[in-house]
Every structure is written in structure tokens, then in C-alpha cells.
């Protein structure tokens, strides 16, 4: 019997196995609860992943070059630096900040009245990296030679730990999902074996009236597969609904304040119920075979 035929009802065989209220509810509930937890964990993992990526691309892909030089050399050095940057592989674009922009950056420290133009402030150049990024050490070497007053700041040391932490959180989420999956499989297997053991007498009666092992196993397997599918579908549905109803967290944070699935990620939770049913099918089938060949 393959996994799909486990979903085709067989009214005769389905009736001969007793309804077993609480084991049934236990399986449906377990599948639902675990699916619910899995959807939430998935949302968390995806959000952490999104965050890590966002930060990574927003930060690692931009860098600042600061040129401090005597007033008269400034334009020359700025131009050299820009040319050099444009030739560097991995640099998407490079642009010297305008005076107003520099003033805005300095405002928190000096107040709005700072005469940037009159000060020996360094010139800032904003660098956008390509996807692959540039080699900061190589760039530093070349700059040292050609633009002595330049200091390259890749922002790394400031936010790298945050990105790492988000990555770790994502990893933790996926590990938790795997764990939840394994736990669900084990629980369904144990529940199936418990149900088979509890129904030893039913199995004996069926054997005595000439039922084949495939017939008996089929009745149990079908039931557990369907229950797991139902439970996981309900749990996934509720989980997805809950995630969708979570407050978006507004513009401000962005960090984990929006757990909702984005775009194609909605496909992932939809995969849970069939996956759970497949696991239940395999687990019950092997459990049924073992129990049936064990009972004489």
C-alpha cells in the first residue's frame, strides 16, 4: 500500500477497527499542537533569517572612506580615491558626500550651526558594494599607496555580532523545527503502537475470521495517516492564522517585530500537513508490520 492509497477510504475495513476515542484525539491533538509550534518556529526562523540578510546586505554592502588631508590636497586626494574605487572589483558605486550630508551626520555632536565648509573636517566617501563585496585588505593596501590620508571603515566591527546573533537565532529555529518534526514522528509511532497493542484482541478476531495482514495493517495505517493529516492541517492553519494576525510592529523596529511570512515563504507551512501525513504513514506502517508479525 502506498502513501496515497492510505487516504482512500475503505468503509468495510475502516469500521472493523474500533473508533478508540482518546487515542484518536491524542493523535489529532499532537499533530495539531506540533504543527502549530512548528509554524511559529518557522516564522521566527524566517524572520531571523530575513533580519540577518537585511542587516548583512545593508551593512556589509556599504562602507565609508574618510580622507583627512590638508585643505589644498583634499580635492586631489578625493578624486584619486574615487577613481581608484571605481576600478576596484566589488565596488558598485562610490560617491563623496555633499556638505549638507556631512553636516547632518555631525549634527548630533555639534548642533545645527556647524560651519562644515570652514572646518578641517575629513571628506567622507560612501561606498556601495556589489553582491560579492570587495576585498577590504587589498583596498586598504592600494589606498595607503595612492591616498595617504584615507581611512577605510567597513562598519563590520559595529554590527557583525548582531548579524551573527540573527544567524544563530535562525539556525536555532531550524534545529527546533527538525526537533519538533522528529518528536512528532516518534509520538505518532508510539501512539500507533499503543493503539495496535491496545487492539490486540481486535486483531486476533480479524485474523480468526480470515483477514490478511495487509487488510488489518491498512485499516490502522489509513486511520493514523488521516488523523495526522487532519491534525497537522488544523494546527498549521491556526498557526498561520495566528502568525498572520500578529501586529506588524510598525516601521520602527523591523527586527522580529514582523514575524509574518513574506512572499513564497507562505508555501513552507503549507508543506507541513502532507509531510506530517507522510511521516505518520511510514511510522504506522512499520509499526503495524512489526506488531502483526509479533502477534502470532
Amino acid at each position: 500500500m502506498n502513501a496515497l492509497s492510505a487516504l482512500r477510504p475503505d468503509p468495510g475495513a475502516d469500521r472493523v477497527v474500533p473508533p478508540s476515542g482518546f487515542t484518536a484525539r491524542l493523535v489529532v491533538f499532537t499533530a495539531a499542537a506540533m504543527a502549530f509550534l512548528a509554524v511559529f518556529t518557522l516564522a521566527l526562523a524566517l524572520a531571523a533569517g530575513r533580519l540577518a540578510e537585511e542587516w548583512d546586505s545593508a551593512l556589509a554592502r556599504s562602507a565609508t572612506l574618510r580622507i583627512s588631508a590638508p585643505e589644498e590636497q583634499m580635492p586631489e586626494q578625493t578624486r584619486t580615491a574615487l577613481t581608484l574605487l571605481q576600478q576596484t572589483p566589488g565596488v558598485e558605486s562610490a560617491r563623496a558626500l555633499r556638505d549638507e550630508e556631512q553636516r547632518a551626520l555631525l549634527e548630533p555632536w555639534f548642533g545645527p550651526d556647524l560651519p562644515v565648509a570652514d572646518l578641517p573636517v575629513p571628506r567622507l566617501i560612501e561606498i556601495e558594494e556589489t553582491r560579492d563585496g570587495f576585498d577590504p585588505d587589498g583596498l586598504r593596501l592600494r589606498l595607503q599607496a595612492e591616498v595617504p590620508g584615507a581611512v577605510l571603515d567597513t562598519h563590520d566591527r559595529w554590527r557583525r555580532p548582531l548579524i551573527e546573533a540573527a544567524g544563530r537565532l535562525r539556525l536555532l529555529g531550524w534545529v527546533a523545527i527538525a526537533l519538533i518534526g522528529a518528536v512528532t514522528a516518534a509520538m505518532v509511532t508510539l501512539a500507533a503502537r499503543a493503539a495496535l497493542a491496545a487492539n490486540a484482541q481486535v486483531i486476533a478476531v480479524l485474523r480468526l475470521v480470515g483477514a490478511t495482514d495487509a487488510y488489518i495493517a491498512g485499516a490502522f495505517v489509513r486511520r493514523f495517516t488521516l488523523r495526522t493529516l487532519t491534525g497537522a492541517a488544523v494546527g498549521t492553519g491556526l498557526g498561520a492564522l495566528a502568525v498572520a494576525l500578529l501586529p506588524s510592529g510598525g516601521e520602527a523596529g523591523g527586527f522580529l517585530t514582523d514575524l509574518r511570512f513574506a512572499g513564497w515563504h507562505w508555501v513552507l507551512p503549507v508543506l507541513f500537513p502532507p509531510l506530517a501525513a507522510l511521516v505518520a504513514w511510514a511510522a504506522t506502517r512499520s509499526a503495524a508490520r512489526r506488531v502483526l508479525s509479533g502477534l502470532s
Binding site: G12, A13, R15, V16, V202, L208, G210, T212, A214
Partner: protein, 228 residues
């Protein structure tokens, strides 16, 4: 139909001497046998061998020509559809009404119950369970359970009927009635074997049918004494 050649059987746990030994017997089509012997002699064990629930520890046992030792489990399932068995402890599926329990052999062999409705109704009437058809097994009295078990054994029109103490819980009139049913089926060519302690039943049967009475004692099968 069922042929035993020097068959022996022992429940592993007992270790030493087998419970049954040197069993040689052929249940020919259309024959009628009684099996008797003291409690614990091995009558139920003997019947279990005959329907393939146990495999001989020695000797050869053939069911419908096939050696059970070589039979796969599904083969035994198919053989059971040709042998109707009334078990001494009459187990049922307690969540299904009596009528569905009686029709269970039909269900598991993939036959549709509706096609056999007439047959089913006749049987229920014969065993006096017409009024209790929709009760559940735990709601039956001891005798009603035995009669339901007999009906279940007969529903597939098996070639062989093995009945283990089928009248232990019913009154004398009912036991006569069930005996008549089995004799009638034997008259239609079915092979019948009844394990029982009830010597009055055996005497009553011998007055109506050509029956052989076997006695299990000390682990071996003998022809019964002249008093039966």
C-alpha cells in the same frame, strides 16, 4: 480436506513432553467427528492445529492439500475462509453490532454484506438471534454469544466446520436445535468436527448421523469407548 500425519504439538514453555503426539487423522469431506476428553487434554489445541492457528512441532499437517509448515501467513488467512470455526471463548468486535460481527468474514474477504442478506437473516433465525441482531456483543447472554459464534462460523458457507464446545452455555432444547443445524449442513456435504464434554449431545447425535467419536487422553487420540 484436513490430514494429519504423526503430528505432535507442545507449547514451548512446558519444555519436556509435547502436549499432543502421534496424531494421525484424515477429516474426509462429508465426515462427522466428535472430539472428547478431559478438561486440559488438548481438544482446543487440536482444533487450532486444524485451522492453522498453530503449526505442528513435528509431523505433517495438510489443509486442503497444502502443507501448513510451508504456508505463508496470508495463505493461512485464505484457508480460514474455507473453515468455519466456533471458538470456545467466542471473541467478537465489541464495537460492532451482532449482525456485523456475524458478517465479519464477508467484510474481511471483501464481499458485500447486502448480497448475502438473505443468507444472514436465515442464519440469525436458525440460531434464535433474530431479535438481538442489533445488540452489541457485551449485551448478549452467554448462550447468545455461542450462537452468534456459530452463525459467524457458517456465514461464508465453509467446507469444514470446527466447533469447540458449541453448546456449553445453552440449554438442552437449544443444543438440540444447533445440533440439527450442524447435522443438516453435514447432510449438504460439509465436514463437521465438534469438540465437547457433553456426552448426552454425542449420544443424541449418534442416533441421527454416522459420527465418529475420538477421545484425547494422555496426549494421544483414540477411538472412544463403546458407551458412546
Amino acid at each position: 480436506m484436513i490430514e494429519l500425519e504423526n503430528v505432535a504439538y507442545g507449547y514451548g514453555a512446558k519444555g519436556d513432553a509435547p502436549l499432543l503426539r502421534d496424531l494421525s487423522l484424515t477429516l474426509a469431506p462429508g465426515s462427522f467427528h466428535f472430539l472428547t476428553g478431559p478438561s486440559g487434554a488438548g481438544k482446543t489445541t487440536f482444533l487450532k492445529l486444524c485451522y492453522g492457528a498453530l503449526k505442528p512441532t513435528q509431523g505433517q499437517l495438510r489443509l486442503f492439500g497444502d502443507d501448513v509448515a510451508a504456508m505463508p501467513r496470508d495463505g493461512i488467512a485464505l484457508v480460514r475462509r474455507r473453515i468455519g470455526v466456533v471458538h470456545q471463548d467466542c471473541k467478537f468486535l465489541d464495537h460492532l453490532p451482532v449482525i456485523d460481527n456475524i458478517a465479519l468474514p464477508l467484510t474481511v474477504s471483501g464481499q458485500v454484506m447486502e448480497d448475502q442478506q438473505g443468507n444472514l437473516d436465515d442464519l440469525l433465525t436458525w440460531v434464535g438471534l433474530g431479535a438481538r441482531a442489533h445488540a452489541f456483543p457485551p449485551e448478549l447472554s452467554g448462550g447468545e454469544r455461542q450462537r452468534a459464534a456459530l452463525a459467524r462460523a457458517l456465514i461464508l458457507s465453509p467446507e469444514v466446520i470446527l466447533a469447540d464446545e458449541p453448546t456449553g452455555n445453552v440449554d438442552w432444547e437449544m443444543s438440540q436445535r444447533l445440533l440439527h443445524l450442524l447435522i443438516a449442513l453435514n447432510g449438504m456435504g460439509k465436514t463437521v468436527m465438534i469438540a465437547t464434554h457433553d456426552l448426552m449431545l454425542i449420544r443424541a447425535a449418534k442416533a441421527q448421523v454416522q459420527a465418529r467419536v475420538l477421545r484425547l487422553s494422555g496426549g494421544v487420540l483414540q477411538a472412544a469407548g463403546a458407551d458412546l
